[in-house]
Symmetry: D2
Subunit: 471 residues, 4 copies
């Protein structure tokens, strides 16, 4: 599954959030950034981006994002005196957006030097990259890279005479993979890897199992805050948003089948039930299945309801969940989309056959038409609906970015021996700290334990309050 | 309130549904349609629209709409044999969209002749108007009419040598007003008015009270199906959609105040509560107030929560609900929008003062900036969010259009004396019939009374099943 | 349906609220109250109740009820000065409970004289009746009357030398029926009837239609507050309570069919959906059917789901909704109950056949056992679950009692000619007043219209705020 | 917290489920069971219970429970051939109810010998104990034991000439404690401990930390199925049930504060929100706090809302959460109850002062009256509302009992060395198996992975499907 030839493909399938599209759709000149000579206002040219002139517009985007990322701003304030990342040389590979920029500028404020590439060939906000380059960051990324560009940019981040990274911040594992492949010696100086994505974490566990992981790695993806907020709460909103923006469908009374009842599926089901849809669930795991039952959803096999449903949503993390046979049996007008993972869940390739006609009716919306006139409404060509057709709230990104920053600080400052060559979850206490930094947004007032209560519970008054496995 | 000088202004404030915007944003030539000479393919030129060449594109839009308006299509089939509108000459003034086109073509199929103008200067889908003109309808409408154009179009519908309407289908009352003002004698031949909007219905009741209503009128606005579906169910979805499309705001944990707990307010509150917002309600009517309490919302005065809320939504039908004093007290980043009625609820005019800066950040989204840097996010300049920033599901429009068609049939065929010069609600049985035509969409199976049960309940087996006042 | 021989039977089928059962189950002596001589402490003996010695206990119950009926207490205060019922001689026939006692003592405080009988042979709280008798009220009622007792009590209320009622407060129509039958001349002095129940209102409309109604009558049953609060909100809670107390069933994951989607059905469905049940709905009325669809319930015929459901709930107001054929097809352990009306909805008589075994497993719970061992769990023998097996919140009773008091005041004080010999709904403004008296319970703060807003809306600042047909 | 002098006290505070009360309230003779000579029909007298004559009634209760515990019945069938517990000598200490009886008889069917005592002095269903004794089980338990009886019964289970247990099934840790204290040598033959309760598990971890745990122990309490089903889903229903049965309170519009947002708090909040209450939450853990925010609850300190709420519910597992100072500030009529743990959360002792009057108004309901007349409604004297005032659904007990049985089988059959002297969670795969055994109840159909999908996910087709920490 994770052999070299697939490297990069997972990320490549993720396309650009809708709302940012407008800013970067502008048809600039067609010259490749690799062929341009650009300098920022201070004469620095150690970057490669679309157009440095968009820096002002990008700066405004960053400022707007700052307003909704209070935790990072607080981190800047609290930790600035002591510069916990002084001496850190961070090489990063993530989506390059206004929110990432706030993270990068926070890392810099904490003392780090940063070099950055994009983890996805489509998702870079060009004007944000421009603002970062103008601000002195070595950024190598633009919207619409080729695969060759993609690896070239990563290489430019890492391969610099006289500079060697000592921390990695990765989203998808491609940067880590590149260093393993091309510059394995670099790991001697690297103190740790912070990885954000399911795919990247999976790769790290494979390396660890194979005894090939040579530095500690922090699995940010499985931190409670990320799981619950990014998946459950975020998808609860984005499923509605993604479906509305693409199809204007009315939810009331619609029959929907949701494949998979993990956090994402739970979020989707809760939202659609609340809007008056009738929701069916499919599951392979009996525990999640029982939860679906208790939450009021009929647990079925897909074949039982495929002829009657109006909407099919995949959230399994699996492949070939909706195969051609099911697509053949769907009724006219059925909407099919993927909220799960990558672009594997719906067997879209099986629809590329001569007897079926494809009609692009809107951006991200295709009608696939059967010989008898039946139409299936396929969204985002089976890629992730929430990334392709809705936006991710800055608040959720703030939680993830703060977690990444704390993970970097922890790994960079950990005393020798605290972390071995293994994959770690963020210490519970840090998870709790991330959460606490986001409470003021809701004007939420935490209760403090009395000494007597702390003693009774056997807890430190400042946490951690739950065992690590608590969700 | 409803004096002549305001005529037209209510409708004018309603802007175009978002999703259709794309089709009509194309920058055609700038010549006024009134100055063009156009003919359809059969040589007919009794229409005035933007561009007859867009007819094919419009036809496709109409065909798509037909698929989601099964009730009108069923009506065409069922009633076609007998042509219940044979001899009817309908003059209409409504939004001109694909859904209206399905209605007009249904009326034609039932035997009616139709002449049509737009009830709103912005809302016409030009390509749909073209398809109608190509199909032989006398349509006078385009997107972006001036006020003078607006009345000119209406006049062209009505004032035709050798043709006189005998039925009026109005949305807002402007067409009715024009005939009263210019051609009062026409009412001698007119069998009735069907009016769709709150405003138009209000005008009719005023006329009736003043003894000036000279034909029967059917109040379609207050039919149960319209009230419950258009307001409650539709707004339950469009409040989320409108807020997301304009601001990408995350709903979870947000504090929201909803002004007014009628059907619209009930829909908004239910949706936001389901998405994890904390919702406060203001009300003037103690009964609705008590409902809000029982539904789990704190009933407050606006002043009690104005400093703490993240979102303010008006749904009152009233004016000056959110005045400058409240806007001054809102916190930074507060979103303000109107789901209620017209553009009166938020005192937007009070924000047009020199010390405040307006910044247009997206289509339909303004930041209003106070001297201290505080920003208020004002949506659609206080006009209706659901019309401006989200789409109305075709299914809901189908219910209304079917009701309009049935009201025309009823008034046109009613025996002498059934209806006097007064305003009527659609007979309950017809309301029920409209509903029944929409059940197959949900694969819903109605139960039939046995003879014994019908007798026990004192009901006819075919309805009506409830008293007229039942909601 | 409403012929004389059925008179009384509807009410008789309503049994006692559970929570009050304890107070009156005490096995007093077996002497019929009609054979006892009792006096209160002031020597008065114009009453007939179980046991005057229970008065103190009853007084405490009344005092507890007073705390939760703030509207009536407010009415006592506000209207006491002017005694709007001075001179009123009210004869009443209702359930005799602590809440009724608060109503009666309020009427007295407003100036009325009261004589009272029970509308149900089982529902009288003996100690409350004792407290009322001790307080000087002429009460004729006890728990466990025979049908002969029932009419005897009513007659004793009405038929008193030298006293003639001028107002009737009825619940079920039996008192009204008795006066029509025995003392038609009394109507000459009677200013009006206030009727509370569906059945009683139905009878009044029949009389009116037949031209036999000889005084104005107020239909309290159809007031908005009654409909929404008594039916929707109250049943939302009592369906859960009634099922739990009788069967301890877990709701999560259960499949339930609710027959009828009026206010009661809406309340039941909302509650069960919220608790994780999968709910199906049956309906005869297409409008309610469409509402069920939009609210997220599959609309089915009972036969489609009868084999698979765990719980069957009737809320139709109809008869023979669940017939033997359906009972035969239910699965083992299926729970069957009635939330609708009377005891007609489930054909319980059809289960009284020799091949079926009945087993009483708890109070109000029977197992009906088929020859193959299948058991159906029948609750309250098909009578109303919410009356038999749960309690009605005092708050809801407070709304109804306040409405009754205001209706009496309105009819008693109405100027000649305002009300004809017809059935009236309570004026909207009074409905609103009742609601407003209940808002302080929720610390709810009503917004007041400004003069400008009232003018804009064409409303009086004090209401009424909605047309009479608004729900 | 867990010193010897408190042993037993936790359990002692748990009182009897309401619905079973009726069966055991019967005022048998007053002779202590310890002074009686009883034999079952086969002449066996190795038991000590209230009254062997109640065996038939108890057998019927057990048979009813069997119908709702399909997983244990399936286990009997599937595992009976191989007798996986052949040779097992299980000593148990749990609540003795019909559901426990089904578990015990399942263990026996799987080959085990069982001796049993009660873990609580009040909770034994005497007639069930009788049926077990009649069936040949050595049961030592009755409702209303003294503390001396409690330990005597445990001792009788353990201390038998010629018989020595090799497995322990404990609920609360008292049995384990007794063996540690009195018969430490027994541990040489004991293969493992299965512990069910929070308290008992806490004790085991203390022992383990102190290096004193001398056999493997299985922590059943923290298995996913137990946590989610027993806490979240069960409390979602029992909070409503417990409040209604004790107070008949109407939930709609009530202001409620829930202290603690763990699984129990989440269940309580979801239920009350669904019923129309306005819910506030207090928390000490920032992660749970953020979840409360996203779920739509205002996060407050108790002091902020204590004056305004109608209901206070504790679910923290902590002590002195509601102290006298808060009780002093509550408003008249405020209901106070505990859903959390033991009887520590509300400082009930602080209410036992001379100036306050206690009035018992119903079973489990006290009015505590302040000098100024203010009344607080205290439920179950601060003990667990769900155990005291509502019933636990058999379905939930079935999940726990099945988990206990599987844990015994696992420990008894584990190869040497799989488990060390430590506390273990049940292997994920067994958790999943327990869940799968309960799906048929909901007619739920699990999806199976294809070979290709299993390979893609790197999973065995039969599970486990999730990492151990997944919740």
């Amino acid at each position: 599954m994770l052999t070299a030839d697939r490297v990069g493909s997972t990320s490549i399938s993720i396309s650009l959030p809708v709302s940012t599209a407008s800013y970067t759709d502008s048809s600039d000149d067609e010259t490749s950034p690799r062929d341009k000579q650009q300098k920022n206002s201070k004469g620095n040219s150690d970057f490669c981006i679309k157009n440095i002139k968009q820096a002002d517009f990008g700066r405004r985007e960053i400022e707007i994002a700052e307003q909704e990322m209070p935790a990072l701003m607080a981190l800047r304030k609290r930790a600035q005196g002591e510069k916990p990342l002084a001496g850190a040389k961070v090489v990063g590979c993530t989506h390059i957006t206004a929110q990432t920029a706030v993270l990068m500028e926070t890392l810099a404020a904490l003392g780090a030097q940063c070099r950055w590439a994009a983890c996805n060939i489509y998702s870079t906000q060009n004007e944000v990259a421009a603002a970062l380059a103008e601000g002195g960051f070595s950024v190598f990324a633009w919207k619409g890279e080729s695969e060759d560009d993609f690896w070239w940019c990563i290489d430019r981040c890492v391969n610099l005479e006289g500079w060697q990274p000592n921390m990695i911040l990765d989203d998808g594992g491609d940067l880590t993979h590149w260093i393993y492949k091309k510059y394995p010696n670099m790991f001697k100086k690297i103190k740790g890897i912070v990885e954000e994505s399911v795919t990247g974490v999976h790769r790290l566990y494979q390396l660890s199992k194979a005894g090939k992981l040579c530095v500690p790695a922090m699995n940010v993806n499985d931190s409670v805050t990320k799981q619950k907020f990014d998946n459950l709460y975020c998808c609860r909103e984005s499923i509605l948003d993604g479906l509305k923006r693409t199809t204007d469908v009315m939810f009331g009374g619609k029959q929907v089948v949701v494949c998979g009842y993990g956090e994402v599926g739970k979020g989707c089901c809760a939202a659609l039930k609340a809007m008056g849809s009738i929701v069916y669930v499919t599951e392979i795991d009996p525990i999640c299945a029982l939860q679906a039952c208790m939450d009021g959803f009929r647990l079925v096999k897909l074949s039982e309801v495929i002829r009657q449903v109006d909407i099919v949503i995949t959230c399994t993390g699996n492949k070939n969940v909706v195969v051609r046979d099911y697509l053949d049996r769907m009724k006219n007008g059925c909407i099919v989309c993927n909220m799960g993972h990558s672009n594997t869940e719906i067997d879209v390739a099986s629809l590329r056959t001569p007897e079926l006609t494809w009609e692009r009716v809107r951006s991200q919306v295709d009608h696939v038409i059967w010989p008898d006139g039946k139409r299936i409404v396929l969204l985002a060509e089976g890629r992730l609906l929430n990334l392709s057709c809705s936006t991710v709230p800055t608040f959720v990104l703030s939680i993830t970015a703060t977690t990444q920053a704390l993970a970097l600080i922890e790994l960079y400052n950990a005393p020798e021996g605290r972390y071995k060559q293994d994959v770690y979850l963020l210490p519970k206490k840090m998870d709790e700290y991330v959460a606490s930094l986001h409470l003021p947004t809701f004007d939420a007032h935490l209760t403090e334990l009395t000494d007597e209560q702390a003693k009774y519970l056997g807890l430190n008054k400042n946490g951690p309050f739950k065992p690590n496995y608590y969700r």
